[in-house]
């Protein structure tokens, strides 16, 4: 029990330190948040703009809500992925990777701490973006099932964490190009997951990739909960694929990270020198 408490406390150390770093870089945080809010508003304006471009009336309010859910959920998932996938790059950039990896803690403790920070930080950002956009467009979300939406986000985060952890291993394998590869994974998820459109509009060969993206199921379930107020029971079918993806990607992510760390330790690639 004591070792578990010790590992949990060590995990919390990463949450605390990263939030302190966020606070110190508050100017950048304000800028990033502003950028995310403006991006969400811009995307949402596509709905009324579509009415003008198409020259025919359709339910633009529903489309606005569809786009807002997409953009806010993506802001959350993207931020979770970003924070997790760049945990190694961040330590390397600050120059602390060796002292962190030399600490007598399990590697999963480091991963869990960085992931917990990612989820909390991203959730707080997503709430701010949602509130601002909802007020801006006077969105009616009275029918939304928020408990269901929260459950979707919680379960969906785990599946994405697994992919994020695998991506975090890339900078351990490729000193220079690892972080660039992470961005490629991130962009691919954006394309195939139906963030701004239903995945059915994708070409068949591309739509196939949406099946393996946890973001696809999170977005579908979230839209069902927020747009249609679907009950928690009726959301359950969405959870199946998410839990399956989590069951595969989370342990696989931790294993890949461990393998990449051993590779880095064998080849002297933990720290970027020069």
């Amino acid at each position: 029990m004591v070792p578990l408490r010790r590992e949990l406390s060590a995990s919390y150390a990463f949450v605390e330190r990263n939030f302190r770093a966020v606070r110190r870089y508050w100017g950048w945080e304000v800028v990033f948040l502003f950028h995310s809010i403006v991006s969400a508003l811009t995307v949402a304006f596509i709905a009324p703009g579509g009415v003008v471009v198409a020259g025919q009336q359709f339910d633009s309010d529903r489309l606005i809500l569809f786009l807002v859910v997409g953009t806010v959920v993506w802001a959350y998932l993207d931020s979770v992925f970003d924070s997790v996938a760049f945990m190694v790059s961040w330590e390397r950039w600050e120059g602390t990777i060796e002292s962190t990896f030399m600490a007598p803690i399990r590697r999963v403790t480091f991963i869990a701490g960085s992931s917990a920070f990612a989820v909390l930080y991203s959730f707080a950002r997503a709430v701010v973006i949602l509130v601002v956009v909802a007020l801006f467009f006077s969105l009616d979300m009275g029918a939304a099932n928020w408990v269901g939406a929260f459950a979707v986000l919680a379960i969906g985060s785990l599946g994405l964490l697994g992919i994020g952890i695998m991506s975090a291993a890339l900078p351990l394998l490729f000193l220079e190009r690892g972080s660039q590869m992470t961005v490629v994974v991130q962009a691919s998820l954006l394309l195939v997951s139906g963030v701004y459109y239903p995945v059915e509009v994708l070409p068949d060969w591309l739509e196939w990739f949406s099946v393996i993206s946890p973001a696809t199921y999170v977005l579908n379930a979230m839209r069902a909960a927020v747009l249609d107020g679907v009950t928690l029971i009726d959301l359950l079918p969405h959870f199946g694929p998410l839990m399956l993806i989590t069951a595969v990607t989370l342990p696989l992510g931790v294993w890949v990270f461990g393998w990449a760390e051993r590779y880095a330790l064998r080849h002297g690639r933990l720290k970027r020198s020069g």
């Binding site: 919390y12 030399m102 600490a103 064998r266 020198s273």
Partner: protein
Amino acid sequence: MQPAVSIDHLVKRFDPAGFGGAWRRALGRPLKDPIVALDAINVTVRRGEVYGIVGSNGSGKSTLARVVATLLLPDSGAVQVFGHDVVKEARTVRRFMNRVSVEASFFKKLSPLENLSFTARIYGLPAGEARERIFEILKRLGIEEKAIRRPMDQMSRGQQQKVAVARALLTSPVLLILDEPTTGLDPRSKREVQDFVREICDTHDATVILMTHDMDEAEQLCDRLAVIDKGRILVEDKPTALRREGETLEDAFIRLTGHAVEVHEPDKTAAGGGG
């Protein structure tokens, strides 16, 4: 008595092709020769002593420090710290060892207090006790109370390096690896860090391994010295025994290695180490 560190026939090579080497091998393309960083190193460090390893940049000092610090896996040979294998029992070894590297590695926007609180937490120190010790150690280092709460990027390199040594001390290591702790510092900061290291050696019951290319520093601080060159230990003895009559330690180094100590700024070579 069990030695603090025992290094037996340690070999470490680096493949300059990196991950691409596997592809080249698969495609049958010629591979570059691996760089031999450590070539059958044998070292025994006794408990409680300050053991110095002197050598030029690229001689293998930092690579050796990293292997002992569990940050590099050896290709062959064995390294034991207080009887524990650094590969098979890495986490156990990490519990009673700490390392100060040439760069003070911190979250530079955070304060010394925040950085050291983080270290205390990941090493399992109770929060209240840790806070008390942090203030005690940092004040002993002459760091003003208001500076303890200011971002570290507002401190001089010398002060940052002293905080790095303080961080290592906070975890009460029984083995302290100092990998060129004064390289690149101005003379005053260098003397401050050296004084602090000397104080640690006098007041703490710890074994210290000091990697340096500063001969004066090595002579002043170390009980025994090993000269490393091109990944091989050339000689090992007390500093006074390494010198012939009328020789400085630097003269002895030139006689043993055939070249002078090259002093460059912090390691800029690939594969995790410059020393």
